[in-house]
């Protein structure tokens, strides 16, 4: 049995993305909305939401995510307000999708989706090495196929 946690670098990436999105929204509002009053209200609302998301919700969410891989199954636990535990047997996995990007070593943007009978299990924000290890443990990808996990 091995326990995995999400890559903390992804939190920084997410904060940078939220900051960029907030700036774009604020600039658009400033440019298109003529009423000063509405602009002030929107700026306050956007900054508050972004702040809460970046420094309250996301850290709590990231600390709540936990993946446990055993020899037969993988379990995901997550949720800030409502805890959700999902478990999937490797034998029920029909196929696997592995999502990564060019800088995923640094951004932590590595995702695995296990497609099983009647649904799917998404393992999000993994370290690249952890993601490769879980994929290998699941047996959903053959040794020949593993070279494409990059």
């Amino acid at each position: 049995m091995k326990q995995y946690a999400p890559d903390r670098r992804c939190l920084t990436t997410m904060r940078l993305l939220i900051t960029a999105a907030a700036i774009i929204i604020l600039a658009a509002v400033r440019y298109f909305v003529p009423s000063e009053k509405i602009v002030v209200i929107t700026v306050a609302a956007v900054i508050s939401v972004a702040f809460l998301e970046m420094f309250v919700h996301l850290p709590l969410y990231f600390s709540s995510i936990k993946y446990i891989a055993t020899e037969t199954e993988v379990t995901k636990s997550s949720g800030v307000f409502i805890k959700v535990h999902q478990s999937v047997r490797y034998s029920s996995i029909q196929y696997t999708t592995f999502i990564s990007s060019y800088l995923s070593n640094y951004t932590g943007f590595n995702f695995i989706i296990f497609f099983v009978y009647g649904g799917q299990l998404r393992l999000l924000f993994l370290k690249k090495s952890d993601a490769e290890e879980i994929v290998a443990m699941s047996g959903g990808v053959s040794s020949k196929g593993e070279k494409y996990v990059s």
Binding site: Y95, F98, I99, Y102, F109, G118, G145, Y148
Partner: protein, 487 residues
């Protein structure tokens, strides 16, 4: 490694079609604010061309990054420019593959390929590709296929008459369409007579005005009637061209089905992944001993407006034992049957509805005497399907039940006006339900429902079963239900 067909560039480009909003804005701007808008528009046409170029370039780059790898063990699809989506489908998990050659793609040599596993819900397709002949050949070499040496020979193939009958019976409900058309033809005629007679009582002046209006009523009725017949006929033609030249071959492991007069479709189905076979009949087919066989298998018949048909209309006696290889069993008697004493659970509601329709005509005639003729016609027309439904449900009562044969379970039941004989292996049963109300508890009967594996969870319900027999069925399937139920 292979790539998708270059025609896919167009499909990828379509996803960026929203970029055309910029040329559109420019067009509107020049139209409104410039007198010589056409000249201005042409002068700035380079911008439109650049946007179109960018759209196609994005499509090209997406296509360039879409790559297919095939090994002995899995099919791998790499997609995405910035985010890389690597999909690994183990070949052992492939339930069905679909190869489609639409007519308009033939000159380009492009072929649609779909691959499905048992994962997911609601008929989702796991992998869709547009490939050329060479790539398809390479992929299909690794997909499940019939072993020509072990192929079961001497299967009676569905003939043209079989496909014609199937197209007629399963095109938007043949009997329903004929019924609706009659309803509007005859009903419109009666309504016309009534209204005309009423208006004749009025003065000559008003008659002149209203005569023109009256003429429109039967015309509308005829139009609606013709519309139903025409839409059914269109649906019939589409189905006939879709399922024509039907061909089926199989061995113990795989089934190959191909059909289509113009657009050919070929399916390869892994037999062990067939969830269940469903022998469907309506009352006419039941009387004539004919069936249409559908199957539930991930990917088969899952496209829009497709029926997962494995055998179009065929005489049940002519199916033969060879089809048992793919789970089509016929002629097996029920071991546990619906109880005739439970006739009320089948016939109570249709009988009540039939009984209400007769006096309702009389009530309508008293309230609106002038429309008594029309209300009589309406009552007769409503009574016909209800009587039909009563006959269907009575036949269902006599034929519903459960049978076991080797490792198979056979369920006979009815849904609305259709009869189903569902055959599956016992391991594929995923849920059982025993329902008993107070009256049923007193007589030791119950309703029994069963669900099988599959992307769509369909319920098959048999009413008026003996509760102790349902418990025996559950035990044979490895379940324990209804321990506290009165038997």
């Amino acid at each position: 490694m292979c790539r998708e067909h270059p025609l896919k560039i167009l499909k990828y480009s379509v996803k960026n079609i929203w970029l055309l909003i910029f040329p559109l804005i420019r067009g509107i701007y020049t139209y409104h604010f410039d007198k010589d808008w056409f000249y201005s528009w042409v002068r700035g046409a380079w911008f439109d061309i650049a946007v179109l170029g960018a759209i196609i370039l994005f499509g090209f780059v997406r296509w360039l990054f879409s790559r297919i790898y095939i090994t002995d063990e899995e099919l791998i699809h790499r997609d995405g420019v910035f985010l890389h989506l690597n999909t690994f489908i183990p070949i052992r998990n492939v339930s069905s593959v679909t190869v489609e050659r639409p007519l308009f793609m033939v000159p380009f040599g492009a072929i649609r390929f779909r691959c499905d596993t048992r994962a997911g819900i609601f008929r989702t397709v796991d992998l869709k590709l547009l490939v050329g002949k060479k790539a398809l050949k390479e992929i299909m070499q690794h997909m499940p296929d019939i072993d020509e040496e072990k192929k079961i020979n001497g299967i009676s193939q569905p003939n043209t008459l079989s496909v014609l009958l199937f197209s007629a019976l399963f095109s938007s409900g043949f009997s329903g369409t004929v019924y609706l058309a009659t309803f509007f033809f005859k009903g419109g005629d009666i309504a016309y007579n009534i209204i005309k007679r009423s208006l004749d009582l009025l003065t000559e002046e008003t008659e002149k005005i209203t005569d023109k209006l009256v003429l429109k009523i039967p015309a509308a009725a005829i139009f609606i009637g013709v519309f139903f017949i025409a839409s059914w006929f269109l649906s019939f033609l589409v189905n006939f061209f879709r399922y024509g030249r039907f061909n089926i071959d199989f061995d113990r492991n795989c089934t190959r089905v191909s059909y289509g007069i113009i657009d050919r479709k070929e399916y390869r189905i892994r037999n062990s992944h067939i969830n269940y076979t469903d022998l469907r009949q309506n009352l006419l087919m039941k009387i004539r001993g004919a069936v249409a066989v559908n199957i539930s298998c991930a990917g088969y018949g899952s496209s829009k407006n497709r029926i997962p048909v494995l055998l179009p209309v065929k005489k049940e006696d002519n199916i033969g034992e060879k089809f048992q290889t793919i789970g089509i069993y016929s002629g097996k008697k029920n071991k546990y049957s619906a109880q005739p004493a439970g006739i009320c659970s089948y016939l109570l509601i249709p009988l009540v509805v039939a009984a209400i329709i007769v006096p309702s005509y009389d009530w309508a005639a008293r309230i609106l005497p002038r429309l008594s003729e029309l209300s009589l016609f309406l009552a007769v027309m409503l009574e016909i399907p209800v009587v039909w439904f009563i006959i269907v449900k009575f036949v269902a009562l006599l034929t519903s039940g459960v049978a076991f044969y080797e490792d198979k379970i056979i369920i006979r039941c009815s849904k609305w006006t259709k009869f189903h004989t569902v055959v599956s292996t016992r391991e594929k049963v995923v849920k059982l339900e025993l329902e008993q109300n107070l009256l049923q508890a007193m007589s030791g009967r119950c309703a029994f429902s069963i669900w099988f594996e599959g992307e769509e969870h369909t319920r098959y319900k048999i009413k008026a079963m003996r509760a102790d027999e349902v418990r025996k069925i559950a035990e044979r399937l490895g379940y324990k239900i209804g321990e506290k139920v009165r038997t």
